[in-house]
């Protein structure tokens, strides 16, 4: 997209297209560029193609305390609590995930747990391997991004000086010191 815009700017500056033509061309391009990109991606082999994050499994010393933090900050309901875990879906039962049209893609949810990740093999299951990778933060897209409102709300939640990460993001740490990024929808893989 950026190289296309750059070419049009050069044409405009060289007098090959008018100001009106520049505006019209960029308006149409901006409105269609990423829809076309999405359609192209959807054409790939679908057998193992990921549709969405189903859930994030978050393990910590006190799952109730962490779940309360995520409920308070993100307005998430707590569903199906057991002695060791609870689920926090991004919406209500029957709702579709944002931007998803398929009927077999459920709402993303967090599963917040307390468990021993180093437990030995049991019940026929092999022991968990020790990962050599780390998910060091998760970024959440929130509705209705407004930097000033987000900053003010973070302050109310006890984060007076959240780390700014570009025009569409702040970082805070949760109750376990885990890095949580709060982003607007303008923060994408292509920009932001």
């Amino acid at each position: 997209m950026e190289s296309f815009v750059a070419n049009k700017v050069d044409e405009y500056r060289a007098g090959r297209i008018s100001r009106r033509q520049l505006i019209e061309t960029l308006t149409v391009a901006a409105a269609t560029a990423y829809t076309a990109e999405g359609a192209k991606a959807a054409a790939a082999d679908p057998t193992l193609k990921i549709a969405l994050v189903n859930h994030i499994s978050y393990t910590c010393p006190d799952f109730k305390q962490a779940a309360d933090w995520y409920s308070r900050v993100f307005n998430l309901d707590q569903i199906g609590a057991s002695k060791t875990d609870v689920a926090l879906p991004f919406g209500k039962k029957g709702e579709k995930p944002y931007g998803v049209t398929a009927n077999d893609v459920p709402l993303t949810h967090l599963i917040i747990r307390t468990r021993d990740l180093d437990a030995r093999a049991q019940n026929g299951r092999e022991a968990r391997r020790q990962p050599r990778a780390l998910i060091n933060h998760i970024a959440y897209t929130i509705a209705d991004w407004d930097s000033n409102r987000v900053r003010s709300e973070l302050k109310r939640l006890g984060y007076a000086n959240p780390e700014v990460d570009g025009p569409y993001s702040f970082h805070v740490v949760d109750v376990n010191g885990y890095d949580v990024q709060i982003s607007g929808i303008g923060m994408t893989a292509l920009a932001g």
Binding site: T35, Y58, F74, K93, V100
Partner: protein, 175 residues
């Protein structure tokens, strides 16, 4: 959108922004436009309303291995201009700016600093076909997955637990 771009052209003409700033602003505007208007009216009175996972930051010893694994096995789409030799961006799900997500494999420290850890991510696969999925996993060199029908676990090249599932076996409301 047209008024917004016309305003940017005026700023470009008047030297308020340079060529690079102009190009970036139009690109970002395109992404935000693609998000549609409905996302703009849903904020709760207090706190925030998450509508999607924006991105997952994945630190490992060699981001290229992770990049190649997640793109070749699970169909995530690399963004060529975002690959800087230390990290990459892989898109999946809805289009960018419309609820889409991305994974950022990056070279980095893998020692947890927090008291919590994200021990696995589960991804939904639409139009789940158990036999085809198991065959495809084998063809990709991932062998027999653990788990149960409709909800399978494999390991990525850094022994990170990756779960794939359908909507029947893995939904918050099934609990």
């Amino acid at each position: 959108m047209e008024n917004f771009i016309a305003g940017l052209v005026s700023q470009l003409d008047n030297g308020v922004i340079d060529r690079r700033q102009f190009c970036e602003a139009v690109s970002v505007a395109a992404v935000v436009y693609a998000a549609g208007a409905d996302a703009a009216n849903a904020a709760p009175a207090q706190g925030f309303k998450p509508i999607a996972i924006n991105h997952i930051s994945y630190a490992c010893g060699d981001y290229r291995k992770a990049r190649d694994f997640y793109s070749s096995v699970f169909g995530m789409t690399p963004v060529p201009q975002a690959d800087n030799g230390r990290e990459a961006r892989l898109m999946f799900g809805p289009p960018p700016g419309q609820g889409g997500s991305f994974l950022i494999p990056r070279n980095g420290n893998t020692t947890p600093r927090a008291k919590a850890v994200v021990d696995h991510i589960c991804y939904t696969i639409s139009n789940w076909d158990e036999a085809k999925i198991r065959t495809a996993l084998k063809e990709k060199g991932l062998g027999d997955p653990t788990g149960r029908p409709g909800s399978l676990h494999v390991y990525d090249p850094f022994d990170y637990d990756v779960q794939i599932a359908n909507a029947v076996e893995e939904t918050a409301f099934r609990r």
